[in-house]
Symmetry: C2
Subunit: 139 residues, 2 copies
């Protein structure tokens, strides 16, 4: 399976409500998540809504990272859409998981631009846990 990009849609449940409503903190962890993944930040915009909730997007040269928070439920919807061989979306995911400390997560991965035959597409690689498992099986 080859694609131009890979898109993680992840739900963070049971996060700290104060953090989810802190627009500076959310911007900081999203920017740092982009850096952790190896992406190049083009621009990042974040807004805090009234009475609560933060929305923000980090546009990267390799697509985007986005977050929408519902502090009242301790819930955040996170998108990590990356392209190219040099950006690791799972590093952004693990970084955010450490910072937001959700009690539970649910993640789907969608391939973007699958029907293109080109050298710029990238072979799909499984997430880190499966990679490790695969490696152990071959030891």
């Amino acid at each position: 399976m080859r694609a131009l990009g890979f898109h993680l849609l992840t739900e963070f449940y049971g996060c700290d409500r104060g953090i989810l409503n802190n627009v500076r903190k959310i911007k900081s962890v999203m920017d740092d998540a982009a850096i952790a993944s190896g992406a190049s930040i083009v621009e990042s915009i974040f807004h805090r809504f009234n009475p609560h909730g933060v929305s923000g997007v980090v546009v990267i040269a390799e697509s985007h990272l986005a977050i929408h928070t519902w502090p009242e439920y301790g819930y955040a919807a996170v998108d990590l859409f990356t392209c190219g061989k040099d950006v690791d979306r799972w590093k952004a995911f693990e970084f955010l998981k450490r910072c937001l400390a959700p009690e539970a997560t649910s993640t789907k991965e969608i391939l973007r631009g699958e029907n293109l035959r080109d050298q710029n597409t990238v072979e799909y690689g499984p997430p880190p846990a499966k990679r490790e498992q695969t490696a152990r099986e071959h030891l």
Copy 2:
């Protein structure tokens, strides 16, 4: 099935390459798609890359619309993530389809924030084609 939001991930193949590389045009159609869906625009940011390609996000009060274009393949990856009862993601989709005139599309719909029991979640509604079909069945 109830959720806080609904996220369409759509691939547009075979679009006009000139339009996909025109950052003003892409910003205009994405902003208008947000308006067509009934969303409230908070901020929209668009960038053109060198040598080609446009990335942009329209942050709306009800989540976001995003696009990344690869003019060299006539391909665009489009995200339409909306929340609430008053925004119709399918109207944004149909608007963009008319403006970008892809030869083929592929669309997946993901429910966001499914595991929350609250009055603010919305009952999942099928896309327009299926709605019409369902309506016809009951005529």
